[in-house]
């Protein structure tokens, strides 16, 4: 650690012990100062939260920025239940904002469970968003992708087995334990770009040998991650996330 300001001393005249004492004094002074600044920061963030509770609740963009600010200074506004007494951070966010996220997390767990047989436990974040907003047509609050990601992160505390996985530019919620290997990720990415994959598509686009493609595609089908279409010129493998995408395309056209 750089000991700023020590140049003023003639360090040669100081014993090592003294030197260390001085150093740690300075460090602890710095530490105190930082702590003071941080807690001031938290204080202000707390004021901000209560002053803007309704914006935070009703505006997805606002929520995302607020979450970023909290993360930047190491505050987790969603660690504590709203019913818990005491503690500054407990009352950090309005009760209804906290409950908004906790309820969202409940719904995410349920959707993962309900759609698991369709998609093998890999569901696109945008699909979860569409499902939630379609169910809640009357509500003024529209759930955003960021909200869902925030809610999924709070669920980390409940153990491994539910988390965000990036597939190219797409974000998925994975609700089955175990890692996906790079080939499987690549296949899902390719599905997103081309709609579906086949042995010859993977050969032409990625230079994969048929044996490699076949074994990856069969493994993924066996895991419920891909659906098979046997009525084209060759067997085609589709990601069920296409269904939601297709729906969006149809809705926008």
């Amino acid at each position: 650690m750089k000991k700023v300001g020590l140049a003023a001393f003639d360090s040669k005249k100081l014993s090592t012990q003294q030197y260390n004492d001085l150093g740690s004094t300075i460090v602890s002074v710095q530490q105190e100062e930082l702590k003071r600044q941080l807690s001031q920061f938290q204080e202000r963030l707390s004021h901000f939260a209560s002053a803007h509770a309704s914006e935070i609740k009703n505006n997805a963009k606002f929520r995302a920025e607020f979450a970023e600010m909290c993360a930047a200074i190491g505050v987790d506004p969603l660690a504590n239940s709203s019913s818990k007494k005491g503690g500054r951070i407990a009352s950090f966010l309005g009760k209804d904002v906290q409950d908004f996220y906790f309820e969202l997390a409940v719904k995410i767990v349920e959707i993962c469970r309900q759609t698991r047989e369709d998609n093998g436990g890999m569901v696109k974040v945008t699909e979860v968003r569409d499902i939630l907003n379609a169910r809640n047509k009357t509500s003024a609050i529209k759930v955003s992708v960021d909200d869902i990601v925030t809610a999924v992160k709070t669920l980390k505390k409940l153990g491994d087995g539910l988390g965000i996985v990036k597939v190219g530019s797409q974000q998925f919620i994975k609700s089955v334990p175990g890692e996906m290997n790079p080939d499987q990720i690549t296949v899902l990415e390719t599905c997103h770009v081309l709609g579906f994959v086949s042995v010859s598509l993977l050969r032409d686009n990625l230079g994969w040998k048929p044996t490699r493609s076949k074994s990856t595609l069969e493994t993924m089908t066996g895991a419920g991650l891909l659906w098979v279409d046997g009525q084209g010129v060759e067997t085609q493998y589709w990601s069920p996330s296409w269904i939601d995408d297709g729906y969006m395309v149809a809705a926008n056209s």
């Binding site: 460090v27 239940s81 019913s83 818990k84 005491g86 409940v106 505390k157 334990p177 175990g178 069969e218």
Partner: protein, 171 residues
Amino acid sequence: TSTTITVSSSFDAADSLSEDVFYQELSRDLSEFLHSGVLDKEGGIISLFDLYALYNRSRGYSLVSPNDLYKACAQMESLGLPVKMRRYKNGFLAVQEKFKTNDALTKQLISWIKTVDASNTKGVSTLGVCSKFKWSVGVAEEELQYAEEKGLLCRDEHVTGLRYFVNIMCT
């Protein structure tokens, strides 16, 4: 030398006392909730994810955070409640009845597989296990993998899905 600065929310004595009470009450309430028929419906084991969803659904308002739910489950055993938290090898968490040992559950599973697939030629699927033991898919998978880690079961990965067989390769 590097210095880490942690800023924690400072509780005074009364706060930390009320915090202890909060978790104890939550643990007890969860235990009661589980014994109101929920645990029976889930075949005696429930994943923390499902417990979180079901419990908060039943509360309806002033929901419990995932963090608090975890802390309350973690101390169920030390509070002497009839349920305990269990951590599977891959980090999956569940709550189960205290009197049932992990190996007793496995024994139950293996003996059922031996009766439904006596010839050991078809194996069983996760869904088959779910419907037999009333477990959620997550729990069934963990139980099957637990038996696999013990060398009692082995797997057949196929395009038709994953199936588990009684392991005859180690004899």
